[in-house]
Structure formats: structure tokens, C-alpha cells
Symmetry: C2
Subunit: 430 residues, 2 copies
């Protein structure tokens, strides 16, 4: 018989099974003892009644501590009142290890304490649900891209030069030379797109953020698609499709986890395309109406994004930012050269930016001028300029931040819970 | 009509289509001009005959340089003699950009030169084929694990301490403190396995290898599954299943690419389970028969692996190495405590190790003793010891190196071609 897992309990009704797991909680009502067991896939209530199991089994109940590892056999019964809808009638209990006094108890703990015990905290219901949704979101990204003609081409992590200044880069001693950890695979993606048409990279990126905010990690994951022969509008469409694909997948497969997080599922279900597309200028106007003044040419900060994203009930796109506040590689709008052909994708409900992208400058001479304007060393970018020398084409792409997307879909107040082992200014353990 | 891509040419026979791509090569036989076009998904021959296209189109042929970006319209015809089986009868050519003199020509170039132009080299047939197989192998790993109950739990890249000594670790200045780049997510996977049962991480890992060998990169990718309540034998079975799944997938979906690499496909097709399982002691005996003496207790080096892997026609497993040459966390064999319950998976044909794994020590006191024996600071491993305090269970896992697996399946002589942008002792560009 195949191995039993709690999440598949429905396939085993009436059968005797073995759960290899841990004691999540227990409850005693005298002649009836309740064990809440978890096996990594779910939590199931197991019950034993005095006289119906061997005395030795029944008596061991008192010794069982939270998180003790147990192998429990018994029969699966359908039980509507039970959490999950199924219950186990215990026949035998094998104690693998009695756990020492578990540091995480039902009482309230501070986040600092819980983060110190992140390696254990992941076992709790809420963190378990978040991580399963995270895994589903990542898989959705991969599935969408793999089935839509994108080839995975991993960008390097070690990079010789900084593409947007070195102030937020982590330096590494690379055999006596200086190297940096990547902030984005985009430049390499552009090379790959010229070879494979549609590509993506998926991996960790690093930002030496000195600020403590609820949206920043020093180590985060992102998926970055890039397309040859693509323009801004097409890119926004792909962003929209990808977000819809992710949402649909999570709603289909991780509904139980969303419930456990008390996420407003009907809000997520109500999200329909097309998502609004507004220009930077229109966004400024919206901010003004809300009493927030921002000088034209300034990039949005967290407060502006939050204000904007409270206005919408779906993700939305802000395009055509002032070129002056954006990176050197962004292509300018032919009809309004003070604007960049870029787009940010923002999540609603105050969450703000989860996507950034746009068209890339594809003209050799223009790109050289930009490097000079931005005080970047042309030498370090010769390989990147080569892409404009040898069959340059219009191309565009974007990056989607995994933790920010997870935080929004799960309804988290801070991205630190959206990654298994968060790294921040003051946190590199465990 | 949906966008045309060369790899789907068969669906468009008799239809007029547009190829957005680049000129891979051209050939002139007077009144008939041949363009080899690539669009990232494949290469297709396009033909024009004098008098059958507008003069302007026909005459532009001479100006077209290698890797010029072109938008070509025409009708798809089936043609058995044509590479790929389909041909385009050209109607129009729009030149997007005439490429400058392309540095990579059909003549032989040295690997150093080609690596300097890695951003362009990826466009060539051979590199294109390797990268598509790489992407397929990665997707196969993810699909196998996702459909077999493993949850993706990303391990951190920044780690505060070294798990197997610091000599091959890259150090990072982490806001004034010392951090290291991960060599393996295993320790974190163990924490995750206690929360999710079966988990894996997939990401880059880093090794400051000072040696130049054909099997080492400073930055490489690996997939690392970990299972709670699992033993060595079950782990070896999962390794075998995963390798078979990968092989089947590549043979199904990337046969054209294998042909392009002139890989011996019948060899790969002939691989059948079960893969041989031999002990370290048996491996020593095989080496001895081949005239290679190795003292008991020494780990295998590249020459030993190569010699062993020439003996087998399938991947094979070597288990139960001397504990003294293995890491502190490996569980010892209860029946022979001088042996570790570990396994290496080796590819045949001289390729050697692609997998390393085994059971992890799950007893608190034993693990503390090991840390002391290995001169590792207990303080840094408190969180890891916690996994043995709070519901410890037998558990095991392994890591599969992506580049080594790609190199073997593609039949490459060096792992540097198995990754888009290789990083080595003397290579961090482009």
C-alpha cells in the first residue's frame, strides 16, 4: 500500500494507516484522549478511548510532549466535526522521541523571538500555510513561463560590475578581486533573449538595504522574463497574464491555506482583467487628489505606492515614468523623450510594487550616451553594448518579486514571513 | 493568428508567416538565395528565387551580414531535404539592423575567446542545444519533486557559519559582519523537512575552488531534496527515480538537441534500472583490479571516480564510505560504526559524481560529540541541534549537481559549457 499522508486522508477512509509525524497538540477529556498530529502535509485529529486500546498505549498519553515525534497507527474515519473532516481511531503509538520543552507555545511571542526560532516556527500552522502558498506561486511562475515558450537561462550571481551604482551592492572577495552579488539578471537576460527569443531567469538577488521596512529583504527571489521583438504593451499583457495565472493556481490548490491565514478569498476571486493601466502623470494626479504632493520627476516611495494601491481593487500598472528617475538602460518614449518606456506593477490593498519592467534601449549610440550621462564605465559594459552591435532588436521584460507577491496574496504585513529564512539588516540567523 | 515560431513550423504548412529573428548564415547560388534564419526556437531555411520576389528584396541579399536582425515574411513549405523539414519561400524582408562584423565565425576559435564572447556564443547551434537541455533537466527535477509530494522551501544564500570548514567559502561583508555564501542548503532543508515532511531547495551554491578542473565551477546550481522518516535505501531509490525521470524527459523532448550535440542517444536509451549499488569497500576492490591503489579511509578523487565510472553502463551508487572522510552530520552505520550511511551517485562514461547524500545524524548527544571531533563551534549550531531536541526523526536527503548532470547527458568534456555564464577561478566575465 502506498504511504499515507494526512492531506490524502479522504482516499483511506475505513482503512488502517500509519502516520509518521509529530504531536502538534493534545487534549484530554478523561476517558477520551485527543492527539492533534501533523506529518508535514496537514494536521489530523487522532482519538483513543479507554478500554478500546491497550492500556499501555492509553497511558502513554500523559508523557507525550508538544512536537514529540510519533508513529501512530489507526483507522481513518470520516468525521464532519473534526478539523480537516477526517479522524484517526488510534490503535498503536510508537514514540520516536519525546521532545524537550518546546520553546514556541500557544501564548503570544514577539516576532524577534520567533525569528530566532525560525527553524522551528516553520512548523506552526500559519507559517506552514504561507510556505505552501509560496511554493505554489513559484511553481505557477515556472509553469506559466515553461508552457508559453520561455526558456530558463540562469543569470550569474557573481557579477563584475554594478548596473545601477554600488551603494546597495554586496561585495565579495573573488580570489583577490572585487565581485558583486547580483541585484538583477536583466542584462544577462537580454543577451539570452537574443539567443533564445523568450527567456527567464529565476533565482536569488541581493540588495544591501540599510533601511528597515516591511518591503525589503537583503536576499530575495525574483523571476525575470525577457522577450526579443517585444514592446511595452506586450510586456504589460504578459505581466497581467502571469498574475492571473498565479492567482488562479493559488485559489485552486491552496484554498485551505488561504483560509487558515484568514485571507479575504472573495476579494482575490473578484480580481478580473483588464487591470488598469495609468501613466505616471495620471498617478501624480491621483496622489494630488488624496492630498499627497510629489514633484514631477521624483520616483514613488513606499507612502506613494501605498496611497495609489489603496485606490484599486485589482493589481494595476503605472507606465511611462520620468526618464530621469529610472535606470540607464530604459528606452525613452519616441513621442515624449522625457519619459521612459517602463512599467511598474502594483498590488492593491496598499501593497504596492511587485513588478518592475519595460523596454530596453536598443540603439548603440544612444546607449553609449546614457552610460556617459549616468557616469558608468563603458568598458565594463562592452559585452552589453555588443547586443546593440550584432542584430539589435526591440526587446522588453520585467521582474516579479516573489516575497512581495507572496506577502500580498497571503495578506502579510511584512515580507519577512514570506521567505523561509529571511535575511535583513539585523538578521542573518538561523 | 498566433505568432509563428520556427519550432512549430509544422503547424503552418501552406500558410504565410512572419519570422522575427536573425541571420544565422546565408548561401548564394546565383538565381537562388538561401538564408538560414534563427528565431531562438530553431533554425529554418528561407529561399528566394530571382524574378519570384521583388527586385529590391532579392538585391538586399548581398548586404545582409551574419547575425543581422530581420523580419522575414513568406510561405511555409514542407521540404524533406531542408534542415528541420520545412522551408520558407520568401516574400518580403525587413532589415531591423545590419550587424557589424560578427566576431564568432565558422572557423575554429579557442575556448577562452568564445568565453569572452559568451553573451554571443549562446546563439550558436551547439550552445543553444546545451542550454535547452539544461532547462529541460531543471524542469524535470522540479516536475518530479512537485508531483511526488516535495515542497519547495528555499534555503538561504547568506549563512552565518560554515558547515564543512571555511577554506572553500566565499566571504561577504554583511553590514560590517562576516557572512558566507552557501555551499549547500542541506542543514536548512533538515529544519524544513521536520515541518513539511518532504522538501527540496533549488538554487545556486558557491565554492571558492582554487583548482582548475573540468568538474568545478565557483558558482553552480543544485537541487537538494530532504525527507523526514527516510533511510538510506529509500533515498537511493529516490535518486534512481529522479535520474530516470530526467533521462526520459530529455529523450522525449530534447532529442533534436541531443542529435545536434552528436550525443550517443542509443546509449542513453539503453539505461535501465536498477542501477548498481556497491559499497565503498567493493569500489576499492574494483579500483585495485584496475591497478589503482587507494588506502582505506581516503575519499575518492577525480581519477578514482573516472576509473569507477568507466566500468558501468548506467549511473551507479557507492554507499557506506569511511566515516572519517565524510562530514560531521552523517549518520554512522549501526552495524559498522566506522562507516557513514552515505551515498554518492556517479554517472557512467567517466563522468563521476553527480549526486551526494545520505542519512543525517539524528541523536543529540552523538551530534554534539561530532561537532567537537570536527572542531566546529557548538554555539553556531544550536539551531541545528534543536532539530534533535524537538521531535528528532530519522531523515535523509541528497544533492544533485545540475551542471555535472547536464555535462554528462550532453556528453560535454567540461562543465563550463553546462551553465549560461560560467564562473571559475579565472573567469567572472561577461
Amino acid at each position: 500500500m502506498k504511504r499515507f499522508y494526512i492531506e490524502k486522508a479522504g482516499e483511506f477512509v475505513g482503512k488502517e494507516v500509519t502516520i509518521k509525524g509529530w504531536l502538534y497538540n493534545k487534549r484530554d477529556s478523561g476517558k477520551v484522549k485527543f492527539l492533534l498530529l501533523r506529518d508535514g502535509t496537514g494536521i489530523m485529529q487522532a482519538v483513543m478511548v479507554k478500554g478500546e486500546v491497550e492500556n499501555g498505549v492509553f497511558e502513554c498519553f500523559n508523557s507525550l510532549t508538544q512536537e514529540s515525534s510519533l508513529i501512530v497507527t489507526g483507522k481513518v474515519r470520516e468525521d464532519k466535526r473534526s478539523p480537516g473532516g477526517y479522524e484517526l481511531s488510534i490503535k498503536g503509538i510508537e514514540i520516536v522521541q519525546l521532545a524537550q520543552s518546546y520553546p514556541i507555545t500557544p501564548k503570544e511571542h514577539g516576532v524577534g523571538f520567533l525569528m530566532d526560532y525560525r527553524h522551528l516556527w516553520l512548523r506552526s500552522k500559519r507559517q506552514h500555510a504561507i510556505m505552501r502558498i509560496r511554493a505554489e506561486i513559484i511553481q505557477a511562475c515556472q509553469d506559466y513561463l515553461n508552457t508559453n515558450g520561455f526558456t530558463l537561462i540562469d543569470a550569474p550571481i557573481f557579477t563584475p560590475s554594478a548596473c545601477e551604482g554600488t551603494t546597495t551592492l554586496f561585495g565579495v572577495d573573488y580570489f583577490g578581486k572585487k565581485a558583486y552579488l547580483t541585484q538583477s539578471g536583466q542584462l544577462y537576460n537580454e543577451a539570452a533573449a537574443m539567443a533564445f527569443g523568450k527567456v527567464y531567469c529565476f533565482g536569488p538577488a541581493f540588495r544591501a538595504e540599510k533601511a528597515k521596512t516591511r518591503r525589503h529583504l537583503t536576499e530575495f527571489w525574483q523571476v525575470e522574463p525577457e522577450m526579443a521583438y517585444a514592446r511595452l504593451e506586450e510586456t504589460i499583457e504578459v505581466c497581467e497574464e502571469l498574475l492571473l495565472f498565479i492567482l488562479k493556481r493559488v485559489l485552486e490548490r491552496r484554498r485551505e491555506e488561504l483560509k487558515r491565514l484568514e485571507r479575504d478569498i472573495s476579494f482575490l476571486e473578484g480580481i478580473r482583467p483588464p487591470f488598469p493601466r495609468i501613466s505616471y502623470d495620471e498617478a501624480l494626479q491621483i496622489l494630488k487628489e488624496r492630498g499627497i504632493e510629489l514633484e514631477w520627476g521624483e520616483d514613488f516611495g513606499a507612502p506613494h505606492e501605498t496611497a495609489l494601491s489603496q485606490k484599486f481593487d485589482t493589481p494595476f500598472f503605472v507606465h511611462r515614468y520620468p526618464a530621469q528617475c529610472k535606470a540607464f538602460y530604459m528606452k525613452r518614449d519616441g513621442e515624449a523623450p522625457h519619459l521612459a518606456l517602463c512599467v511598474d506593477g502594483l498590488a492593491p490593498e496598499g501593497y504596492g510594487e511587485i513588478i518592475g519592467g519595460g523596454e530596453r534601449e536598443d540603439d548603440l549610440e544612444t546607449l553609449k550616451e546614457r552610460l556617459e550621462e549616468y557616469n558608468l564605465p563603458e568598458e565594463a559594459f562592452q559585452w552589453y553594448l555588443d547586443l546593440r552591435r550584432f542584430g539589435s532588436v526591440p526587446h522588453a521584460g520585467f521582474g516579479l518579486g516573489i516575497e512581495r507577491t507572496v506577502a500580498w496574496i497571503c495578506g502579510l504585513s511584512h515580507v519577512r514571513e514570506a521567505i523561509p529564512f529571511p535575511r535583513m539588516l539585523d538578521r542573518i540567523r538561523p
